[in-house]
Point group: C2
């Protein structure tokens, strides 16, 4: 970007922040699934950084810059960053000896402008070994200067599309998603509209990062996905977004919300397959694919103090309350999520999520 | 800092954020004095950057990093940053021609963790020509990696000490500041305690910045001060903090707050003289003094829609409500600031503030 151009904040991306604060319904207290992804990735992360981080990256910078994209409000982002720094320090020592001067770390926590950065900053670990900064704005646009990042991390964030595809909300389109709030149980046209949106968004993501990541720099991404060859309608979406959609339709029948209001509401998440991801990375051309590997399943099972339906309902509320409230207003929240809990109690036993660890390396031009 | 050390957040500094939000009492809407400092500095800033910014600084970085320390919530911080970028771009063009490739700008907005960063991020200019980041924590400690800043700016922030000197709150000390909330109308012992605290704080400030600013990098600081040879009790403090203190003592008489509560309350601002500043910069030894110049006086005079007393009262509330509330509780705020307004109406006509533009350059070791 030349200085004459302008950096517009979030020109097309919609923001769906996780529930802020640290109350009972907050994301900070209800992100166990997302924590599972971070924990599962830890060992692999060590291995990836040990094997894939080039010596030239280690020896060049006066400080080592890490970005966590879609960081939300913690605590998962802090564990992830600590894991990464630990792995990079290990790599320094194993590669350059125990007496090597390790550079200082600067960590950029990025999320939408509407993320609760005040809470994030207040909960920064007291004894952190890095300089912290917050960077507001969608990661589907440029957020950092050219060649300024050495390692990019993102966990359970890249399944959010930048927006609901326009045709899905268009009554006159074949892809109009009437009576549903997600594409996973919808018509082929709706699915195709989401596939296209995913490809467009990932191309924007890769194009932006290609400018920001130094040659040889790594992107370590935990992305919820589905194995190649499976359909979009699998057990997890059935008990999450599809079930929430059916609760909203129940509220239509009870006269609490209008049918039109539900028809104009879609949750823009997308579950990619490794094959799709490979295609878009290859089309972009700036990154080599170092790893795409399925992480051990995170199984949400009964706990001593909380059964699966309660856990699911708490997670669903923390993750989607913001977007639901924005569209339907605050007054339906309790009724909707109570209903959702009841339906979970009818349907859900143990549930598992599939996440892929994706490692990309910035190629030299 | 080696990676093994830890970066503690605000170990000793107290935070006194300006009033957040954008309501009638907010700092965002009541910072005209502070805006005056930014406006007055603009022309000088252009001159300073044109004359003092070395070619080697311009030609080396792939991106140009600016920090605004004590940024509060805007809009002054955004104007200041725009002025700086404009001046740097001018310098690039005049030095290296109109076709020079100007690096990208990254701007770090720094203030205490309790600053309202959510508001700051939401009000970032849409068409900004820089990448924005927020950095929480006191500027009396390290906040940035080694040699990572090219230009540091701070406006109307360095008059806040890191804390009230301990002896000022100690009943058994000669420097106990009984019956007053500020040092400016206090005993010699109280004044000396503040002079010492100022010197200690500035040494910490300079020591931290010396590590963070690249060789040749500039610090451009607007600091409220008093001319050499003047006392600490001058017209401006008389109608601001001294008057607020007398309002609190009135509330003691009315039985609204206890005398002890007022005795244990001090507002830790300090008004330096150029001589004092020079002494501490020379003792630190890492920066050359390029300029210390008094900016044109900012005169707070009657306006069409607001007379001086109202203006003063609004500024005072925006700047001190946080610290007052923390100590005395929310319930006294309206009564206190109403009383302050009444006293201003008795005392204040036009008021002027003295600010110095200080330019320091990082010397090579």
């Amino acid at each position: 970007m030349a200085a004459e151009e302008t950096i517009t904040s979030e020109p097309v991306s919609e923001a769906h922040p996780m529930k802020g604060g640290d109350g009972a319904n907050s994301y900070a207290k209800n992100s166990t699934f997302q924590k599972g992804a971070v924990d599962n990735a830890k060992q692999l992360l060590n291995k990836v950084i040990a094997e894939k981080l080039d010596l030239e990256i280690l020896s060049s910078p006066s400080s080592f810059h890490i970005a966590d994209l879609g960081c939300s409000v913690g605590p998962n982002t802090f564990s992830a960053v600590e894991n990464i720094i630990e792995a990079v320090v290990l790599k320094y020592h194993s590669q350059l000896g125990l007496n090597v001067q390790i550079p200082e770390f600067q960590v950029f926590f990025n999320d939408h402008t509407s993320n609760d950065f005040n809470l994030l900053f207040k909960s920064l670990p007291q004894n952190r070994q890095y300089y912290a900064a917050g960077v507001p704005g969608s990661f589907y646009d440029r957020r950092f200067p050219e060649a300024s990042l050495h390692l990019v991390h993102s966990s359970t964030a890249l399944h959010w599309l930048s927006k609901v595809p326009a045709e899905v909300l268009d009554k006159n389109s074949l892809a109009y998603n009437k009576g549903r709030i997600h594409y996973s149980n919808a018509t082929d046209e709706v699915i195709r509209a989401h596939e296209t949106q995913y490809a467009v968004d990932m191309e924007r993501f890769l194009h932006s990062r290609a400018q920001e990541v130094v040659y040889g720099g790594l992107m370590v991404l935990n992305i919820p996905g589905r194995p190649d060859g499976t359909t979009h309608s699998y057990p997890f979406t059935k008990v999450t977004l599809q079930l929430l959609g059916s609760c909203l339709m129940d509220l239509v029948e009870k006269g609490v919300v209008s049918e039109e209001k539900v028809d104009s509401f879609n949750i823009p998440t997308y579950t990619m397959s490794p094959q799709e991801l490979k295609a878009v990375v290859e089309r972009n051309g700036c990154f080599s694919i170092e790893t795409i590997t399925q992480l051990p399943l995170v199984v949400l099972a009964d706990r001593p103090n909380m059964a699966v339906p309660q856990l699911l309902a708490a997670h669903m509320r923390a993750g989607t309350e913001g977007i639901v409230k924005e569209h339907f207003g605050e007054e339906i929240l309790d009724e909707l999520f109570d209903l959702y809990l009841t339906k979970c109690e009818e349907h859900a036993t143990a549930v598992e999520t599939v996440t892929f660890l994706v490692v990309l390396k910035r190629k030299a031009d």
